[in-house]
């Protein structure tokens, strides 16, 4: 009777488990100063992206042909470009595009690559050979070239850029996940789970994936940064997002002709890309340390 009472009480506590676990992760994350800096930068960017119309003093496509190529001033914080558009406003609006492209492309890469990698690693043998050789072929083509090829085939545009960048990162995720799965699947608890009556899908989802989460998270957070960079590069060469949408890479590209006289045109978009990637990398490292219960102290 006592046990029953006790267990009902505990069962109630158990339901709030999710917040409890999240709290643990947060406590560990908080200890890492650099990770907090990373989170601050990424948070700021997200806020900027969401509140773009409030933050930006001008519309991103508003041209003021009387004040083109102006140096930074109080009126135009980061100066204006060759068409007289306010660079600060364009960077603020650009964060929407860049973050969106980055996260979606990384998500495509993680999901497709993760699924392929875990299937290859778990089943091994023939399936492994087929998937991994196909991945090898993809790896033989440089990611950028592959993305350009896909984009050229699908045509430029936001969605196609995301798909192209996402697919070009699939091999990296697949390899990382497969490697992690290979070490995990040999462990006894996988056999124990099979002895409990779990099927393959259940075992992969419930036992293998959580154990591979650390490398996936690190790869994904670095992947977001890479995807932003790749999308910027695509726009830089004119295949990605099309003007007048304010994409950071496209802004770099547009400004590169004026780099001698007006370096601010490329400096600020470049800084924006750099800070975003720096923040995401710090955040990813911090998350890895915080999410791994084996490192718990």
């Amino acid at each position: 009777m006592k046990i029953v009472e006790k267990t009902t009480k505990l069962a109630l506590n158990f339901n709030t488990k999710k917040t409890g676990q999240g709290y643990d992760v947060w406590m560990r994350f908080k200890k890492n100063r650099l990770a907090l800096v990373g989170m601050f930068i990424v948070g700021l960017l997200l806020l900027m992206a969401v509140l773009a119309p409030v933050v930006a003093p001008y519309k991103f496509d508003l041209q003021d042909l009387l004040s083109t190529s102006q140096k930074p001033s109080l009126k135009h914080l980061f100066g204006t470009d060759n068409l007289g558009r306010d660079i600060f406003s364009r960077i603020v609006y650009g964060s929407r595009i860049s973050l969106f492209v980055g996260f979606v492309a990384a998500a495509i890469g993680t999901l497709v690559g993760g699924a392929l990698g875990s299937i290859a690693g778990y089943y091994g043998d023939k399936i492994d050979t087929i998937i991994m050789r196909a991945i090898d072929i993809m790896m033989a083509i440089p990611a950028m070239v592959l993305a350009i090829a896909i984009c050229a085939a699908l045509g430029p545009g936001l969605l196609n850029t995301m798909i192209a960048v996402g697919i070009s990162t699939v091999p990296r995720y697949a390899r990382v996940v497969r490697g992690a799965v290979l070490t995990v699947k040999e462990q006894e608890f996988i056999e124990a789970s099979r002895a409990c009556g779990g099927n393959d899908f259940h075992i992969i989802l419930k036992h293998i994936t959580p154990n591979c989460l650390a490398p996936i998270i690190v790869q994904a957070s670095l992947g977001v940064a890479d995807a932003i960079l790749a999308a910027a590069s695509m726009s830089f060469i004119g295949l990605g997002i099309q003007p007048p949408v304010p994409e950071w890479g496209a802004m770099l590209s547009a400004g590169r002709g004026y780099i001698r006289d007006n370096p601010h045109m490329v400096l600020f978009p470049g800084l924006a890309i750099m800070m975003t990637i720096y923040g995401l990398n710090l955040l990813g490292d911090g998350l890895r340390d915080a999410l791994d219960p084996k490192l718990k102290r």
């Binding site: 006790k6 267990t7 505990l10 488990k17 608890f189 009556g197």
Partner: protein
């Protein structure tokens, strides 16, 4: 009807460098509520037998070559993957040797106990947690610790968790594969006592795989001695311990230090187990046997009855018995 009946089970590992004959035609039966001890040295094929019962022999390279495994009257080897999964964990469950690796390090123990319950029973999340808490209390772990991770427990506690998972669906057969080998002696006794108690409470049959005759003496009803993939002696606990028939079993008892007798040296069994890829043609124990005759190396011995319910697989011993009975 017996709960489990194994008939002529043969399991081979087929590798490039040869066929490893891990299990060579064993017969076993376990009644309801009974504990059978499967004893043998490393490499005798004990774990392969257990995996065979779970239909979990790693394939490739493992193959069940011959034999039948009847569980509650139906042959497990004829069932498809889905039917086997329904039996695993709910009717037959297994305790693995090393509790350090048998638990998923990134999932809380509560989730791991709930998992097996939810795989087999249609219970709500809250209900399964309640059962998990009860199971934890049953194996002597405070239910408060349900949200903790495996690394927060000691080895003995982890083995208790593993036992809780194995017993969560109240299986009719529990296979314990050297459950106490990885634990130190004081914890061994606790875990064994607890398993014995739970087994009686839940009416579970148990197949106890071990190389420790002390463990066998403590909780088994009947004992099967395994050597090179064969069962060489089989009988009740009393028959095996007091009326040892097979020279290998005698050798095993001779290798145990005694607390009572004052002996100068132990008498171990000389030599090593035969290479399972090249088993001898005659009795597989013959090369190490000190009672061997020329006949032993020529033909395979068969099981004969020493006394009712007590079988041994030894030509020499059989001949002796015959002489005695004729002499009378």
């Amino acid at each position: 009807m017996n709960l489990l009946e194994i008939k002529g089970l043969k399991i081979h590992y087929i590798t490039d460098s040869g066929v490893v004959r891990a299990v060579n035609g064993i017969d076993l039966e376990i009644n309801r509520g009974e504990t059978l001890g499967l004893v043998g040295e490393t490499g005798a094929g004990k774990t392969t037998t257990a995996l065979g019962i779970m239909c979990q022999v790693p394939d490739p390279p493992g193959k069940v070559v011959e034999g039948e495994i009847f569980f509650e009257g139906s042959n497990l080897l004829e069932k498809n993957a889905r039917e086997i999964r329904k039996i695993r964990g709910s009717k037959i469950s297994m305790i693995f040797q090393d509790p350090m690796t048998a638990l998923n390090p990134v999932v809380t123990i509560g989730d791991q106990i709930c998992e097996v319950i939810r795989l087999h029973q249609k219970t709500s999340h809250a209900e399964s947690i309640k059962i998990a808490c009860e199971m934890l209390e049953l194996v002597g772990i405070p239910a408060e610790r349900i949200n903790e991770y495996p690394h927060q427990f000691s080895g003995g506690m982890k083995q208790r968790v593993v036992i809780a998972i194995a017993l969560a669906c109240k299986p009719s057969l529990l296979i314990a594969d050297e459950p106490t080998t990885a634990l130190d002696v004081t914890i061994q006794a606790q875990v064994l006592q607890m398993m014995d108690k739970l087994k009686k409470e839940l009416g579970t049959s148990m197949l106890m795989i071990t190389h420790d005759l002390g463990v066998v003496a403590e909780i088994c009803d009947r004992v099967a001695i395994m050597y090179a993939g064969e069962i060489v002696e089989y009988g009740t606990l009393e028959a095996i311990f007091n009326n040892t028939a097979h020279p290998y079993t005698k050798g095993l008892f001779g290798s145990i230090p005694s607390l009572v007798l004052d002996v100068e040296r132990l008498s171990p069994i000389d030599g090593l187990m035969p290479d399972p890829t090249q088993l001898p043609t005659g009795c597989s124990f013959a090369p190490r046997c000190n009672e061997k005759m020329s006949e032993c190396e020529e033909r395979k011995p068969e099981l004969f009855q020493v006394s009712p319910g007590h079988f041994s697989k030894c030509i020499h011993h059989k001949n002796e018995m015959h002489k005695e009975s004729r002499g009378c």
